[in-house]
């Protein structure tokens, strides 16, 4: 059993179910990537695992404990962190304040974590007194990931972290995500840039119409002719 597991998930935003029994899991020190065509329910699956929509059936386990009924806020307190795709920074607040807000639930000294985030994203230290709204797209993503890391999570969930950033910035971000994996955090992300994301993935999930189509290691999926033909453009 993996550290975070969503199994046989059915559900949607009212109306027809978007998730048709998909299962996703990720372990500590691992990167799991969910890819698939538009409308496959990738982000929905992720939101379901974070409690942002309620499941009609299926369950979510965190460290062996059933958390299906928990609100997103209590999941945060239980060691899950979520980076939304858009509006993921406090634009009117400085970089440092953004990071401090990430540590809001913590009563212990968060300065070591802050130092860790600054080491991971050196540019944030430089810009720490600047409002996050004035940063470039890539830097904003770094603030967003940094804010999530400030909660000291066991699981980091990223909804399309490289949407709308340049290829160079994307490579940098993936590089940082690999560095975060080194610290033993479980990383689950949904990606539009499937090829690059699968490249760094320990596990890859290809979702189609809310169901698991292929599940394997990232490299195996990249090597599979069928996956290449149907989802990676040859």
């Amino acid at each position: 059993m993996s550290y975070l597991t969503g199994s046989d998930m059915y559900g949607g935003y009212g109306g027809a179910d978007i998730l048709q029994g998909c299962s996703i899991a990720v372990d500590k020190g691992e990167i799991a990537v969910v890819v698939g065509p538009n409308g496959a329910g990738k982000s929905t699956a992720m939101k379901a695992m974070f409690g942002m929509l309620s499941l009609r059936s299926g369950q979510v386990l965190l460290g062996g404990r059933d958390i299906t009924a928990l609100t997103p806020q209590s999941r945060v307190r239980n060691g899950m962190a979520f980076v939304p795709q858009t509006n993921n920074v406090f634009v009117s607040m400085t970089v440092q304040e953004n990071l401090e807000m990430g540590a809001f639930i913590r009563d212990d000294d968060f300065l070591p974590t802050l130092e860790h985030v600054f080491e991971l994203f050196p540019v944030l230290r430089e810009k720490r007194l600047q409002p996050a709204g004035e940063l470039s797209g890539g830097q904003r993503q770094q603030v967003a990931v940094g804010r999530a890391l400030m909660t000291n999570p066991e699981v980091l969930m990223l909804d399309e972290p490289t949407a709308g950033v340049s290829p160079i910035v994307m490579d940098e971000l993936f590089d940082r995500i690999l560095a975060i994996r080194q610290t033993g955090i479980a990383i689950l992300m949904v990606e539009q840039n499937a090829r690059q994301a699968l490249n760094i993935a320990d596990r890859g999930y290809v979702l189609v119409t809310g169901e698991n189509r292929f599940t394997d290691s990232g490299q195996a999926l990249l090597a599979s002719p069928e996956v290449r033909r149907s989802f990676l453009g040859g």
């Binding site: 806020q73 945060v76 307190r77 920074v89 009117s92 607040m93 807000m101 990430g102 639930i105 804010r147």
Partner: protein
């Protein structure tokens, strides 16, 4: 000739600058409350003026009680002593109102328009309570020394024809407003709760993801608003007098100040408050005497040189409001977060 210019300036200071500074401080404090509620709870609070009347009424009643049992502050108004108690009562009233009215609509995630209508309901109820308890008439509750500098003393000191009078209530208003504004900005920018409030107003969803409790943020917002409005209302009452209907009327300059400065922006609310106050006083002042000092005797104007009768002072707020909404709807400072 040189003393004529000085006389003209003193005249202007006495009748325009000092009153506008005091009135502007009162407006700024009121508009700050309005802007905080807007940026955190996301609705225009129409009950603001009547909450102010409620807070001031409480101060007036406690002041009368203190006066009747002989407690006072010497040269300072007794109302200052009553103020902390009135603040506690007004805070309690605000939190009760939130619990009874606004929380219900928050849980239902109602649209801002519903909140505005609910706040109009609260406005009528508050209005009713105030009139029922203290009545609709003018109430005086100022005591202690009246002036910091009297016009006559000023004339004797300077030898000028014109006097400059500064009332205790005006001096108090300006000092208290400055202290409150500094305290508010310290709270918003330096404390954990203040930053959480800004975060919540900036991005509600992300604040939830960071574990910020929205009910707590809302509670703190009402507490701050109640403190600001009670103080603003009391200062206004000391400066002029307390009449419930006047406080209801203050809603217009409050909104004008908040919107002119950029609604949701505390700095904007302060700038807006002073701009509205200066415009209102400057436009309704009769400049005849001022020009008489400055021009040769035979050029002296016949008319009052008053642009607008004081009866129409609300038109000033209204015109500024309309022009801002037409020309620069975002206000002086853009954005809608604290």
């Amino acid at each position: 000739m040189a003393t004529d210019v000085l006389d003209a300036l003193v005249l202007l200071t006495n009748f325009v600058v000092v009153p506008s500074l005091a009135y502007g401080s009162q407006l700024a404090l009121g508009a700050l409350g309005l802007t905080l509620v807007y940026s955190v709870l996301r609705f225009a609070n129409f009950a603001h003026g009547d909450v102010m009347a409620f807070g001031t009424m409480t101060t007036v009643l406690i002041t009368w009680w203190f006066q009747s049992i002989g407690i006072g502050l010497g040269p300072l108004p007794t109302a200052l002593l009553a103020l902390p108690f009135a603040i506690v009562i007004t805070v309690a009233a605000m939190l009760l109102t939130d619990r009874a009215v606004y929380r219900f609509y928050r849980a239902r995630r109602s649209s801002p328009a519903i909140f505005v209508i609910a706040s109009i309901g609260v406005m009528f109820v508050m209005n009713g309570i105030v009139r029922f308890v203290i009545g609709p008439d003018d109430q005086q509750f100022n005591d202690g020394e009246r002036f910091i500098i009297k016009a006559r003393t000023f004339k004797q000191m300077t030898g000028l024809h014109e006097g400059l009078a500064i009332k205790v209530s005006q001096g108090l208003t300006i000092v208290i407003a400055v202290v409150l504004v500094i305290a508010l900005f310290w709270f918003l920018n330096r404390t954990r709760t203040g930053k959480a409030m800004r975060a919540y107003s900036d991005n509600e969803d992300l604040a939830l993801l960071s574990g910020i409790d929205p009910e707590r943020v809302v509670m703190v917002t009402w507490i701050i608003t109640a403190v600001l409005t009670t103080i603003a209302g009391t200062l206004y009452g000391l400066d002029k007098s307390f009449k419930p209907f006047t406080y209801f009327h203050l809603l217009l300059p409050f909104f004008a100040a908040a919107i002119l400065g950029g609604i949701g922006q505390p700095v904007g609310a302060i700038i807006g408050g002073y701009v509205i106050a200066f415009s209102e006083v400057a436009v309704t002042y009769a400049y005849k005497k001022f020009f008489t000092y400055l021009v040769p005797a035979d050029w002296a104007p016949n008319g009052l040189l008053q642009l607008l009768s004081t009866d129409y002072k609300f038109a000033v707020s209204f015109i500024i409001l309309v022009v801002v909404l037409l020309v620069r709807p975002t206000g002086i400072i853009r954005g809608k977060t604290i």
